[in-house]
Subunit: 247 residues, 2 copies
């Protein structure tokens, strides 16, 4: 199977949308995907609502090569991701004997009926593991169902990297200049026009004494990235260039 | 006009989706909205792509009382929010004499053609200000166009609070327990069933020595929130309650 090119993420949880806690998984996921050449193109955040989640999963799953959900996989009433993904694909929820066995081993005599709710999976889901991550990750078609707790989410990243690798990683370089965007604009416009295959980003920095704007250059081909970067450096006033950086 | 009840946010920028920078405005917006009784129900993040942004703005503007965009309002090639919002509403982009005057005053003799790009607005947009925030905020129908730079985004929050206030703020209380979710589940299920107007959230904490799970109680009516909280406290084993907190 060809490695995925595009991805979307669905972040689930009232606590994120109410501002109670800061979202902590998106950046980790974005960097992991970038390192294996998968472009994260869309993120949606929704409440713990089964209908919204099912609708989003269905729609994202059709439009992107791979989809990651974050959150809503515990055993309590507000954990509705498994049921929603099952609904999205029109399948039932079933109990996974493999996960149940792991839970029984882990909790031993402390195990409750509540814990066993964490063994639910959408019917037909795959359970993926690697040597470093023996706990199962649930993947339904092209939808990876990941936990919201940042420490556990992060532990899943090597699994994602191992199983979806094969693409060409994105290359990113940056320069920092004392020019503000108003002065930089005509120079940037020239480089953008002459280097259509490189994605240029311009980011003003607020109250930073050393520079005014960071300019980034991104593409899958490092030589193209370097060429665009060098083109801007060549037309910048010499005293306006503060630093040249690799990302 | 009745105060808005529901909101959505559209976060714009390649730098967020590539993981280059961490998203920094969502939580600030969520808390501001919560304090004036507006529920943030959906967040979408997209690349600097005019078609995607226009499509999202059109769709969110129809489904939510108020929409906030973040990012893409500078003068460079990757700042396409103004043009996209105009496209969403089928209007042209025009130059605002009011913003142009502010820019001329601010930049003085340093002003370039590039700076004047920041005076573009969708035709028919309102420019809102308060005494504390004399720089204009651009509002097109129910869509507030906010800057992505976190420090400036934050400065806009008092404007949002002042102009959209009037709703009943959300009330939130929390307790912390040594029970894990597997043991907590049957107790939570009882409280959820008996307090349907209160939104209960259950959040396991990873590697926290003092407690295992935080439970939150949310509604617009504080007495309902307190009643649900007290109901859970009453059925928790006495030694399982670590702390009772206001948010």
């Amino acid at each position: 199977m060809a490695p995925p090119q595009t991805a979307a993420a669905l972040i689930i949880g009232n606590e994120i949308l109410s501002g109670k806690i800061a979202e902590g998984n998106l950046r980790v996921l974005a960097k992991t995907l970038g390192s294996i050449g998968v472009r994260l193109e869309r993120v949606v955040m929704v409440l713990d609502d089964r209908t919204s989640i099912a609708h989003e999963v269905r729609s994202l799953s059709k439009s992107y090569d791979v989809v990651f959900t974050s959150g809503g996989v515990g055993p309590t009433h507000d954990d509705v991701t498994i049921a929603s993904v099952a609904e999205a694909f029109g399948v039932a929820v079933e109990q996974s004997p493999e996960i149940e066995e792991m839970l029984r081993m882990y909790y031993g005599s402390d195990l409750t009926e509540g814990h066993l709710f964490m063994a639910r999976i959408p019917q037909g889901a795959e359970l993926v593991t690697t040597d470093e991550m023996p706990w199962h990750t649930i993947v339904m078609k092209n939808v990876w169902i990941l936990p919201g707790v940042p420490q556990i989410f992060q532990m899943k990243m090597p699994v994602v990297r191992t199983l979806l690798a094969g693409g060409v990683a994105f290359q990113s370089l940056a320069i920092y200049t004392t020019l503000d965007e108003g002065h930089l604009k005509p120079l940037l416009d020239r480089v953008v026009a002459e280097h259509p295959d490189v994605d240029l980003g311009s980011y003003p920095k607020w109250r930073e004494p050393r520079y005014r704007t960071k300019v980034t250059f991104d593409a899958r081909d490092l030589s193209l990235v370097e060429r665009a970067r060098d083109a801007l450096v060549a037309i910048l006033p010499a005293d306006a260039l503060v630093r040249i950086d690799e990302e």
